[in-house]
Symmetry: C2
Subunit: 216 residues, 2 copies
C-alpha cells in the first residue's frame, strides 16, 4: 500500500520505517520537500522510502499518518490539503502537548474537545482514526517490547476506517483483541487526556516500555 507519513520526528520516522519494513511504499512528508531529516530517513530506509512535502505525502498515500507535533498538526494538515486527504483514512497519532510553559506539558486542547475531533471537523472528508497516541513510539510498532497482554485504543466515526486501521495495527503486532474501540472520534478526548497519567507513570516506572491493560 502507498502510505504518507506526516512528520519527521521520532514518531514519524519509527512508524514510517516499520511500514517500509512491512513492504509498504512510504513517503515521509514535511513542511517542504527536501527536508534534511526526511532525506536522511529516506536514504536509510530502503527502496520503498521517499520524502516530499506534506501535500506530496498526503497525495501519495492511500492512508495517511499524522505524526506531527500535536500543537502544529492542524497547520500541517492544512498544508497537506483537504483535497489530498478526502476519502482517505487519516490515522492521528499526535498528542496536543504544549511544552511552551515548561514541564510538565499542558494539553493545548482537552476536556470538551480534542485534537482528533478538531482534525475531523477541519477535514470532514477525511476518515480520522485516533490511534497509538498512548504509547512510546517504539512500543507502537513493536508491542512485544512490553511483555504480556496490553491494550491500545482507537476512536473514529467511520467503522470501515477503524477496521482498516486495526488491520495495519495487526501487522505491527497488535492482535485484534488488544485493540479497544472507544467509539466515535470524541473518544480521542480520553485517549489524549490519558497523556498526563502516562507522563506520571513514565516517571514511576522509569522506562518507555510500558503500557496499560484493561482488566475486567
Amino acid at each position: 500500500m502507498r502510505i504518507g507519513v506526516l512528520g519527521t520526528g521520532i514518531v514519524g520516522s519509527t512508524i514510517a520505517s516499520k511500514l517500509c519494513a512491512l513492504g509498504h511504499e512510504v513517503m515521509m512528508g514535511s513542511r517542504a520537500a527536501g527536508n534534511g531529516t526526511a532525506l536522511a530517513w529516506a536514504a536509510g530506509a530502503g527502496p520503498n522510502a521517499s520524502e516530499g512535502s506534506f501535500a506530496g505525502a498526503a497525495s501519495f498515500g492511500e492512508v495517511v499518518f499524522n505524526c506531527t507535533a500535536g500543537v502544529h498538526s492542524l497547520d500541517a494538515l492544512e498544508a497537506a490539503g483537504a483535497g489530498n486527504l478526502a476519502g482517505k483514512v487519516l490515522v492521528d497519532v499526535a498528542n496536543p502537548l504544549d511544552f511552551s510553559q515548561g514541564m510538565p506539558p499542558r494539553l493545548s486542547v482537552c476536556n470538551t474537545d480534542s485534537l482528533g475531533e478538531q482534525i475531523q471537523r477541519a477535514f470532514p472528508e477525511a476518515r480520522v482514526v485516533k490511534a497509538l497516541n498512548t504509547l512510546n513510539c517504539l512500543v507502537m510498532v513493536d508491542p512485544a517490547r512490553v511483555p504480556g497482554e496490553h491494550d491500545i485504543f482507537i476512536s473514529g466515526n467511520d467503522e470501515g476506517a477503524k477496521a482498516q486501521v486495526c488491520e495495519l495495527l495487526g501487522s505491527f503486532g497488535w492482535p485484534a483483541e488488544r485493540i479497544v474501540d472507544l467509539g466515535d472520534i470524541a473518544g480521542a478526548r480520553g485517549a489524549e487526556m490519558y497523556l498526563l497519567l502516562w507522563l506520571r507513570l513514565f516517571g514511576a516506572v522509569q522506562t518507555g516500555d510500558f503500557n496499560v491493560k484493561v482488566v475486567r
Copy 2:
C-alpha cells in the same frame, strides 16, 4: 481508628461501610447533621457507624475521606473546617465531574490544575492523598471483583500520609505492589483526567467491574 467520611452518595456509603466492616469507627458527614441518607446508613451499618455534619465528621476522624461530588468538594471541605483537617490525612476520592452541560461530563478543573491540588492549596495543613478515584466504588473496596492483577494510583506531597493510605488500601484488598505512586499531588491531574478515558472504557466493556494494569 476513627474515620470521617464526607459525602452520603454511593461512593461515601460504600467506603464508610467497608471501613465499619474492618472495625473502624466511622462518622459519615453531610451538610447538616441528621441528613436522612446518612441516618439510614448509620442505622444499617452497625454499632461503629454514626453521622454528623461535615465539621462533625472531620473533627471526629483521625483520617478523613473526601467522597463528596468533586464540583462541591471545596465547599464541603470549607464547611468541614480547616482546623478540623489540620495535620490529618485527607484521602481525596472525588472527581471534578461537571454534568451540568449534559453527557459526557466535563471536568471542572484539569490540565494545569486538579481538584487534588486545589484541595491541598486550600487546606495546606491537611495531608492530601489522591486515591481510588479511578475506579467504580465497588471495586475500590473489593479489588477481587476484577480478577487478576490491576493497579491503583496515589498522589500526594506527604510520604507518611501516602504510607498510611497504602495501609488502609491494603486492608481493602490492594496489595502494596498494585499501588502506583505517581509522586506529588500534581499527579492528581493525570488520575483525574483519566476519567474521560474511564468513561469510554466503561462504554466499551459495559461493566463497572474493570480496571487497568500497568504492564512493563
